[in-house]
């Protein structure tokens, strides 16, 4: 028997083996028959066919229609009004692929690649094809099939370039030759490092972005035949150029970043999102990328503890409330997407979550397309799968009703003509009440759950009787325990289930005498239905508005520039007028248009009485790390190629908090992990704006350099060069030498005629050296983190040797020791007001630093390096008055005009001057007193912070939170799995922040 069983399995595997395969274990057999489905509602590509017929043969659809002639050798399935849909396609999975092995890196960092003959970075695994590590996994396949998938596209989700994926039909009773639809479907990318290598670079999202850029420059150059050596990873990229490209972004901001990269290199990425795209859809919809969206809606939090509820954020609560609307919002905004089951912890929630999305605005048509046609075309298989059409694979779902109907279940999932039964519709439901006589006693039996795991409740004259029940195949066995003549006894019955209205079978009674029986199910009144309908919750339909950003204090709409006449204020002009009392300022079209006494109000201008108030230009922070997802790319000692502009995070609440402190612009700097850091972003704090609108328009490009303990890894154990200040100098010299050489090579090449160019090797484009070249040309400015006088002096000398100027020394705590040299070099100093004592190199940091540098003729700014501190930079300016007797007027410039000068934006901001941007702050009093409060902050004439409106927002946050918590309490029912309220820690990001 056992042998026969094995043989059968073997046999079935070969069912559709290739014709030319040789058979030695029996006779060669082939399926000649047609499978025909009749009386079906067929979701064909031409619309729904009711009472239709579908004919399948050899895995393909032969015909669809009404009243078709059936071939003679047909196996007919009468679907009795069931529905047929094309089965779903999963494009984001790691089906059957071996998980990557994490490389234990040990203690020391790895800076070199570990692979030979491939790209210089281990996280580029473009030559890898996941198919080589694939084995068909029946259990996993069933999981997918049960929720409607017929085909999966699978890749190992590891690395920044992950290599290529493959597509598989989820067919159990076949071998790979039948299952594989495409052995190499698409290329896959992400911003995440490979587990298989400890190579340090890239250590940040911006590093990953830079790496992808360089990779494309390199493959472009390589494909022109310019390289003298081989690179198998690049060759793979060139070979796979025509394949579709997927990007696993997994975060709404990364979706945006991937879309930008996609546009830059014309890669047409298909981007896997996170389910939170409704938050930045206004930006995403400007790209034409197809997205892949999960439906892993968050579970409700356990909100039974009011103390913990305090810790929950609006964004967390809204996520729970808004996530089901994500797909509908994407549809409304015209974004093309497919739906993935990935990220779902419990795949069984897949369809119910899609139904939830449909209730929240997603149309059924788009939902179905997102599961079939869209993913099919993403993997270039849209001529074979995703539709019910002649010639397409017979990948069919047979469902009890319309696919997204409330009670619809998937009964069968056919893949390439191979049947998989999901729900056995032949099973008979015998749930109900029966009465049976045993030993002249009457037992009332209640059977429930007979389709899956039956249970019974038995009573004799209202006495509970113990029992045991089991269901094997279609046979139900029941044991009853009762006392007969005060002696414990048992009786057993056994019945094959064949009718839903009666049971008949045989048994042995309490005296072990056999008997046979037939009993009918009692008719039940319709009271079960009444119990089911849930109590409708009054506010269950409330959906929070999506704000910009979608956090507390987010905006419903972006403020517009206003026309305002501020009257009778004290104006801190930062110009030759100095501080002028009882004066007016008028703003219009985002600019300052008039300053003076007793000005006339232009027609239709709003008037604000600013008596007793002070008005200044907005505060500018030269050194900030807010609103960025990455700060340090410490993987190399130079990372000139990375840019904070690539990783702006507009959701950072510190943007709002800084507005509340009168800050209007900031330079978001790379950190201080390495001597040559990354490029800065200079932004205006336009809370709620799109990322593109936050960049300071026309700002000059900057780069961060760093000196001192951080770059030489003094306060932790490091191994890369440099480990001393001596080495730091040489890093700069070496890189600028190389940049000079690079510049020379390109200049020579560019001076050649087109004909000459053909006969020489084209130089390689290097993003890092390009950036350094910009510095040499004076097109990019350096802001260098610095502490002690020796290194400050050194960097000025290095710059002078290479004929450029350091623009700013930031932190510059010993600037006062070389202030004369700084003035001579023409470098500015952006320092802390009074920090010291935290590192050895700040031993001699003194709060008089700003004053001494200023008196020596250096342009001085005070910075924060900390988004908590930056919201009170006005008080840091006061410290310049306290320490070192700077006049109030000059001290105020330390946080306004001087940083504007250092950032080369003083032609637009930094003072109250006609023609400059209306970036202004209304203070309740003297702007440097800690008894003063920010009342209003304007950027380009638009009101971004307003004290009155702020109070209103606080109330709205409170109200919305209570509505959402009440709504969530509706799901806080016994037995429902809930999440612990888990707000993220707030981090005061500084120079030393690392991302991964």
């Amino acid at each position: 028997m056992k042998r026969l069983f094995l043989l059968l399995i073997f046999f079935s595997f070969n069912l559709n083996a290739q014709d030319y395969f040789i058979v030695n274990d029996g006779v060669k057999t082939k399926d000649y028959q047609y499978n025909v489905f009749t009386n079906a509602n067929i979701y064909s590509s031409n619309g729904m066919i009711t009472n239709g017929t579908l004919i399948e043969k050899d895995g393909k659809i032969i015909d669809i229609g009404v009243n078709l002639n059936l071939p003679n050798n047909s196996v007919v399935y009468d679907l009795k009004g069931q529905y047929i849909y094309p089965s779903f396609i999963e494009t984001h999975s790691s089906f059957g692929v071996k998980k990557p092995q994490r490389k234990s890196s040990g203690r020391s960092s790895q800076y070199e690649p570990s692979r030979n003959g491939y790209y210089w970075n281990d996280h580029i695994l473009s030559d890898y094809n996941s198919f080589i590590d694939y084995t068909y996994n029946q259990k996993e396949a069933k999981g997918y099939r049960d929720i409607g998938f017929g085909v999966v596209n699978s890749h190992r989700n590891d690395g920044i370039h992950r290599g290529t994926s493959f597509a598989i039909g989820l067919i159990d009773g076949q071998n790979e030759s039948y299952r594989v639809l495409s052995q190499k479907t698409a290329e896959h990318y992400s911003f995440s490092r490979s587990l298989t290598s400890g190579q340090s670079y890239p250590s940040s999202t911006m590093g990953a972005i830079a790496l992808i850029r360089q990779l494309h420059y390199d493959s472009d150059w390589y494909s022109q035949g310019e390289s003298i050596s081989k690179d198998l990873a690049i060759e793979a990229i060139i070979k796979n150029k025509e394949l579709p490209k997927f990007f696993d972004a997994n975060d709404k901001l990364n979706v945006y970043r991937a879309a930008k990269l996609s546009k830059e290199f014309n890669l047409n990425f298909i981007i896997k999102g996170s389910g939170k795209e409704y938050e930045n859809v206004r930006e995403l919809k400007k790209f034409s990328n197809t997205l892949i969206i999960p439906v892993n809606f968050p579970k409700a939090f356990d909100v039974s503890n009011s103390k913990l509820n305090d810790k929950l954020t609006i964004n967390q609560l809204r996520y729970w409330n808004q996530a089901p609307a994500n797909l509908g919002i994407l549809e409304k905004n015209g974004v093309t997407f497919s739906i993935t089951s990935s990220d779902l912890k419990n795949k069984r929630e897949f369809l119910s979550n899609i139904k939830k999305a449909i209730k929240n605005g997603l149309s059924e048509k788009v939902a179905l397309d997102a599961l079939t046609i869209i993913p099919a075309s993403s993997i270039n298989l849209d001529d074979k799968i995703g539709k019910i059409e002649k010639g397409y694979y017979a990948n069919l779902l047979i469902t009890s009703g319309p696919i997204f109907g409330d009670k619809t279940v998937i009964n069968e999932n056919w893949v390439k003509g191979q049947r998989h039964i999901i729900k056995n519709t032949d099973k008979v439901n015998v749930d109900g009440d029966y009465t049976i006589q045993i030993n002249d006693k009457s037992y009332e039996i209640k059977i429930s759950n007979s389709l899956t795991k039956p249970s019974t409740k038995i009573k004799r004259d209202s006495t509970d009787i113990k029992s045991k029940v089991s269901l094997v195949d279609d046979w139900l066995s029941l044991t009853l325990f009762d006392s007969i003549n005060e002696k414990p006894s048992f009786a057993q019955i056994s019945t094959k289930i064949s009718s839903s209205t009666s049971l008949s079978g045989t048994g042995s009674d309490f005296n072990n005498n056999s008997f046979s029986f037939t009993v009918s199910k009692k008719k039940v009144e319709n009271n079960t239905n009444a119990k089911k309908s849930p109590k409708s919750k009054s506010d269950s339909s409330f959906v929070s508005n999506v704000t910009f950003p979608n956090v507390g204090f987010g905006l419903k709409s972006i403020p517009n520039s206003q026309s305002i006449h501020f009257k009778n204020a004290t104006l801190w002009t930062n110009e030759s007028d100095g501080i002028i009392e009882n004066s007016d300022i008028i703003i219009n079209n985002g600019k300052i248009v008039a300053i003076g006494k007793n000005l006339e109000t232009p027609a239709d201008f709003k008037v604000i009485d600013a008596t007793n108030k002070h008005i200044t230009s907005g505060i500018i922070d030269e050194h900030s790390h807010m609103a960025a997802s990455s700060i340090n790319e410490g993987g190399h000692n130079s990372s000139a190629e990375v840019s904070i502009m690539d990783v702006i995070n507009p959701d950072d609440i510190n943007v709002y908090r800084n507005l509340a402190g009168g800050v209007t612009s900031a330079q978001i700097l790379h950190g201080s992990a390495n001597p040559i850091g990354g490029q800065s972003a200079i932004i205006k704090l336009k809370w709620g704006s799109e990322i593109n609108d936050m960049y300071f328009e026309g700002a000059a490009p900057f780069i961060k350099f760093a000196l001192g303990e951080n770059v030489k890894q003094s306060n932790w154990s490091g191994s890369r060069f440099p480990q001393t200040r001596m080495g730091v100098e040489q890093v700069f010299v070496d890189h600028f030498d190389r940049a000079k050489e690079y510049a020379k090579t390109w200049e020579e090449y560019n001076s050649l005629s087109p004909r000459q160019k053909r006969s020489v090797t084209k130089p390689r484009f290097d993003d890092e050296l390009e950036t350094l070249w910009e510095i040499l040309r004076g097109d990019r400015f350096v802001s260098s983190h610095s502490y002690v006088q020796s290194e400050i002096n050194m960097l000025m000398k290095v710059a002078e040797k290479f004929n450029f100027r350091i623009n700013t020394f930031t932190h510059i705590l010993e600037g006062y020791k070389v202030a004369d040299k700084m003035a001579e070099h023409g470098v500015g100093g952006s320092t802390f007001s009074d920090w010291w004592g935290y590192k050895y190199e700040v031993n001699d940091a003194i709060p008089f630093n700003a004053s001494i540098m200023h008196n020596a003729g250096v342009t001085v700014a005070l910075n924060s390096d900390n988004s908590e501190l930056s919201r009170r930079l006005n008080l840091e300016a006061a410290k310049a008055v306290k320490y070192g007797d700077i006049s109030e007027e000059e001290a105020w410039k330390f946080v306004t005009l001087n940083p504007a000068k250092l950032l080369h934006i003083d032609h637009k901001v930094g003072s109250l001057k006609i023609g400059k941007d209306a970036d202004i702050v209304v203070w309740s009093g003297h702007p440097m007193s800690l008894f003063t409060k920010t009342e209003q902050t304007y950027i380009e004439g638009a009101l971004y912070f307003d004290q009155d409106n702020h109070q209103q927002k606080l109330k709205e946050i409170k109200d919305e939170k209570s509505i959402l918590i009440q709504q969530m309490l509706g799901e806080n029912l016994p037995g429902v799995k809930l999440r612990f309220p888990n707000p993220m820690p707030q981090i005061e990001v500084t120079c030393e922040h690392t991302e991964f």
Binding site: D310, G661, I846, I852, K882
Partner: protein, 443 residues
């Protein structure tokens, strides 16, 4: 008389070359014309303050301008002459500021491990005494004086019971000379009911329950029970128990570090139940819903300084500035915990500005001053000597040209500790002069 005043003013202007630390007061001092902020809420305008042998022996005010004749009146009536007379007209006089929960003198440079002495290895360390590690000559310590911070609690960190703290004045040759009160407090870090997911180990990010909370609390209870049982045994090998005796007998105060409201309630009830009543809560950053509980139990609070992020991203950005007012309105005795600010140790010199910032959100300015003078003196049990400007108390005070609680006007010209005219010169002011001179000479 006029001549004397001028001479003495001249003399005092040379404070930069004074001896550090200052010698014991041997010349009596009279300060006239200033606005005296007593520290208990009172203001004395146009005041005169005299002190001799380290003690304040004269406080008066006048409606008229101070003239030689008027000043001589005090000299005559007390039958003595003040040796040094300081004209503080239109200036402000404050009691010396007192810093709680500081690791001044225990750490010199955070990043240099060799200079870090505030966190001993171990969990329950009642026997560990901060005072003996206190470096009276620390550069951080001297930098407090020019801003008016003259007295500090030197507290250990780390573990569950960190050790005992002592109270020092900030101008001394060594720790023994610096001490005002030995081993005044025992510092207990109440376990946190929450932790954050260690995502680098694959846990979910964000807050989660600390599953060990009950165990950690029980362990602490066991330690207290054992200590109480053994503390009077005349045996060696019970150092820890003996070290706990002072708090059971009310001789020293428990400083309970608790931020979350659950920590506060659990911690206070625990200590009260075991018979400890001298408790001060330190931190209390999330205490806003337990203020009634704190008041009912009559527990002083050392509230975290305001320069930090609010509790949640949705909180009012100024939430941290408003907490102290809520406590004071309840009638709780409040001081300020300087920890958690950027560069928190060296920033203790900003203590007057923390008070000023609290004041800017609704606390009366004199009440804000009490938060860093009288209130901490009470908590430390040194209020009979320090914390206010009153006759008979230690002459520990300073003069500022402007409002000392506002950065822009804080400008300390004189400071006295027990009448000693202390130097306002520091490593930092020396460097300032050195390099200012360098550039002015080269011009």
């Amino acid at each position: 008389m006029k001549k004397i005043i001028l001479l003495n003013v001249l003399f005092l202007n040379l404070i930069f070359s004074q001896q550090t630390p200052a010698p014991t007061q041997d010349k009596s001092v009279l300060i006239f014309g200033g606005i005296t902020h007593v520290g208990d809420g009172q203001i004395i305008n146009n005041s005169v303050i005299g002190f001799t042998d380290g003690k304040i022996d004269l406080i008066a005010s006048s409606e008229e301008n101070w003239t030689d004749k008027l000043l001589n009146m005090f000299s005559d009536s007390n039958n003595k002459k003040y040796d040094t007379i300081i004209d503080a007209s239109n200036q402000h006089i404050y009691p010396g500021i007192i810093a709680l929960n500081s690791n001044l003198g225990l750490v010199e440079v955070d990043a240099v491990r060799a200079s870090v002495d505030d966190d001993e290895a171990g969990t329950y360390l009642p026997e560990v005494r901060s005072i003996i590690a206190y470096n009276a000559e620390s550069k951080a310590v001297e930098s407090m004086r020019p801003n008016g911070v003259l007295v500090a609690q030197i507290a250990p960190n780390g573990g569950v019971i960190s050790g005992s703290s002592s109270v020092v004045q900030l101008d001394a040759w060594n720790w023994e000379d610096a001490v005002i009160k030995y081993d005044q407090g025992l510092h207990i870090n109440w376990p946190s009911p929450y932790t954050f997911g260690r995502w680098w180990l694959g846990e979910e990010r964000g807050l989660k329950a600390n599953n060990n909370y009950n165990k950690q609390v029980n362990d602490l209870k066991e330690f207290f029970d054992k200590s109480k049982a053994n503390m009077n045994l005349d045996k060696s090998m019970n150092l820890k128990s003996r070290s706990m005796k002072a708090i059971f007998e009310g001789e020293s105060t428990v400083y309970l570090y608790a931020d979350d409201e659950k920590e506060i309630v659990d911690g206070v009830l625990f200590l009260k139940k075991i018979g400890i009543n001298k408790i001060v809560i330190v931190g209390a950053s999330e205490a806003k819903n337990q203020l009634d509980f704190i008041k009912e139990n009559d527990i002083p609070v050392v509230v975290k300084q305001p320069y930090r992020f609010p509790q949640s991203v949705d909180s009012d950005p100024r939430e941290t500035f408003m907490l102290a007012k809520k406590m004071i309105d309840k009638g709780i005795l409040v001081s300020i915990d300087p920890s958690g600010a950027p560069q928190s140790r060296v920033s203790i010199r900003n203590l007057p500005f923390y008070a000023g910032s609290f004041s800017s959100y609704g606390i009366d300015k004199e009440a804000a001053l009490s938060m860093i003078t009288l209130n901490p003196a009470k908590m430390l049990g040194i209020d009979s000597e320090f914390g206010t400007i009153e006759i008979g108390k230690s002459a520990t005070l300073f003069i500022s040209k402007g409002d000392a609680l506002d950065i822009i006007s804080n400008n300390v010209t004189h400071a006295f500790i027990s009448g000693r005219n202390i130097s306002l010169e520091t490593h930092q002011t020396r460097l300032w002069r050195r390099y200012s001179n360098k550039y002015s000479n080269s011009q």
